[in-house]
């Protein structure tokens, strides 16, 4: 009897973190997702400690050492201004991560809010919001981003806004569909019977129940945002020199790809590895959250 009591008492202390722990355990089962996760962590650390890791400044020109092949002094070689590509790739991680996560955060918050309101209230409000989203969706995402940047002007903030806005309709749709599936469940009516206001019901009851698809889409969305930002910088909109951004580095290295392949390969590789890691982690999270949904 005492043994049972002590076991029960111990269990109650661990209860709070159990949900997160369970999801993490399931995520760990996929080796691929784990690899991706580790890569992301390394990426974050590189971005945070860029100052410490990078041997040179990202704008440090050395006109006597231009177009150097990878060597001990410059691991990734130098570009047309003699800037160390390794350092630029490292600082570039900051930009990419910033743009990716902030753009997605903007899109998730605004899109999520619009989708939740449309799904919960229905009727004319739903119609108005979703038809507006349809208008945005009719334009290809990158084209929309281009037009927004063209209107606002280049620069990292405008880039985040452009990529964010062009992603909003996708999240609005997902959240609206999820809200629709949850809002007729009995615990929502029970919450109403308790006297909850509409906003309370949306934020405390409905949204927590629809987090899974949003999380998955957001993870994959960061990858897409980084790609879009790289694409925009590639064509000259977006990040302006000398700020290092992997896409713009591809762009400037494009003319020298025949002779100095390393100028495009390393930033390109950085993009590939980041996108791969994000995709694989997104898949892993989706799979990890699924069994809980079936509960």
């Amino acid at each position: 009897m005492d043994l049972i009591k002590s076991v029960l008492n111990n269990n109650s202390k661990k209860k709070k973190s159990n949900q997160l722990l369970e999801t993490w355990k399931r995520l760990k089962k996929s080796k691929l997702a784990l690899v991706g996760f580790v890569i992301l962590i390394i990426l974050f650390l590189v971005a945070i400690f860029a100052n410490v890791i990078a041997p040179y400044g990202y704008a440090e020109q050395n006109l006597k050492a231009t177009f150097q092949f990878p060597s001990a002094k410059h691991i990734f070689g130098t570009d047309e201004f003699g800037r160390d590509i390794f350092s630029r790739v490292i600082f570039g991680s900051r930009i990419s991560l910033e743009v990716g996560f902030i753009a997605v955060t903007i899109a998730v918050i605004i899109g999520g809010l619009l989708g939740a309101v449309a799904g919960y209230y229905g009727g004319k409000i739903d119609n108005f919001i979703m038809r507006s989203m349809d208008v945005l969706l009719a334009i290809p995402q990158i084209l929309l981003a281009i037009s927004i940047v063209a209107a606002l002007g280049p620069g990292i903030i405008n880039l985040m806004i452009a990529v964010g806005i062009s992603s909003i309709p996708g999240y609005a749709r997902i959240v609206r569909a999820s809200v629709l599936s949850v809002k007729y469940q009995e615990f929502v009516e029970a919450a109403r019977a308790v006297g909850s206001s509409n906003s309370r019901i949306i934020f405390k009851h409905i949204l927590p129940n629809v987090m899974a698809p949003i999380i998955v889409q957001a993870t994959l969305g960061v990858a897409l945002a980084i790609l879009t930002a790289a694409g925009l910088s590639f064509i000259g909109l977006g990040i302006q020199p000398p700020t290092p951004e992997w896409g713009s580095m591809l762009s400037s290295g494009r003319g020298y790809i025949r002779d100095y392949w390393y100028m495009t390969m390393f930033p390109g590789l950085a993009i590939v590895i980041t996108i791969f890691a994000l995709n694989v982690v997104g898949d892993g999270i989706r799979d990890a959250l699924d069994p809980r949904l079936k509960n």
Binding site: K15, E186, A191, V194, S196
Partner: protein, 327 residues
């Protein structure tokens, strides 16, 4: 116009649902009253209008398609139907609370039970989050669940315990009226007995009035003081429990009691009421029960019977008991 000292007074309540397939006459000209500390049993088959009445009292009828055609609901002397949305939201939970039918789905799966009880308290009382969680733990103890479990999620409880949690939520702010919509239907018999015991105990402790919606006459006998029998949106009989059980008057009520299997007599077949409950979009003319009534008369298909006090405190809607000559 408010009445003597009844907690709840429903007059001429009529609720329709306007759908594409026709108008559903869910509740028709309903009269009811519940005194302080009383328990009213609301009995009827599926589709009789019991849940709709409960939702009407709570102001939760979805609009559209629901439409409150007429009637008054006096709660503590004030007409609920004339109150603003905000005022009604204030009464929900603190003065009138509702327990829903299926405990499996009426709890939010991603919020701990302690937080769900605390939410009720926080909405209506001016307390800090910590205080509300403490009160939530006390409520859990009151319904017989260890307070250490307040950090558990609903899926970690059994059906009976979930229903206890739901009851704890409903009673957290000590409402004067509790509406229980078939609270034990989804539970097995032994758990049903436990939950009913708990409800009786809490009723005594908090002096709550209760509307118990059920289709089980056994449950009614356990816990109710007065009983209303619903058929096709009408309250066809209404009396205190003893009068109803000892002397059921309406043919439908009589048939209901007859259909209960008797443990002492050998029966080859169960007694059924012939026919089916009427299509609520297409109710029969006159008394809604007349197509199935063993004692039907010609005038039953022409006019609807009015409410008659056949004996003191015992009301019936049936021409059999009408004393004066009516058209």
């Amino acid at each position: 116009m408010s009445e003597n000292n009844n907690l709840l007074e429903i007059r001429n309540l009529t609720i329709h649902y306007i759908t594409d397939g026709g108008t559903v006459y869910a509740v028709d000209d309903l009269d009811l009253s519940i005194g302080y500390g009383e328990t009213l049993g609301f009995v009827g088959e599926t589709g009789a209008g019991k849940t709709t009445t409960a939702l009407g009292i709570m102001g939760l009828i979805p609009n559209p398609p629901g439409k409150l055609v007429s009637g008054e609901i006096y709660f503590e002397g004030e007409d609920l139907l004339k109150k603003s949305k905000k005022e009604i939201r204030g009464t929900r939970g603190s003065e009138i609370a509702m327990i829903f039918q299926d405990p499996m789905t009426s709890l939010n799966p991603v919020v701990t039970v302690g937080e769900q009880i605390a939410e009720m308290i926080k909405i209506h009382e001016n307390v800090t989050k910590q205080e509300s969680l403490k009160k939530a733990e006390q409520m859990l103890e009151t319904v017989g669940i260890r307070k250490e479990r307040s950090k558990d999620y609903p899926h970690q409880f059994s059906g009976g315990m979930k229903q206890r949690v739901v009851i704890a939520i409903a009673l957290a702010c000590n409402p004067s009226l509790l509406i229980a919509d078939e609270p034990t239907t989804a539970l097995d018999v032994t758990i049903q007995a436990q939950v009913l015991e708990l409800m009786k105990k809490l009723k005594e402790k908090y002096k709550t009035s209760m509307i118990m919606i059920t289709h089980d006459l056994g449950v009614v006998a356990e816990i109710c003081d007065k009983v209303a029998i619903m058929y096709a949106g009408n309250a066809i009989e209404y009396a205190d429990k003893d009068s109803l059980y000892l002397k059921p008057m309406h043919p439908y009520t009589v048939a209901l009691f007859n259909s209960i299997p008797d443990l002492e007599i050998d029966q080859d077949e169960l007694c059924v009421i012939k026919g089916l409950t009427p299509d609520p979009t297409n109710l029969p003319k006159g008394c809604p029960f007349h197509p199935r009534c063993p004692k039907v008369m010609t005038k039953c298909s022409q006019n609807k019977p009015n409410k008659v006090e056949a004996e003191p405190g015992h009301f019936v809607r049936c021409f059999l008991y009408e004393k004066d000559k009516i058209k």
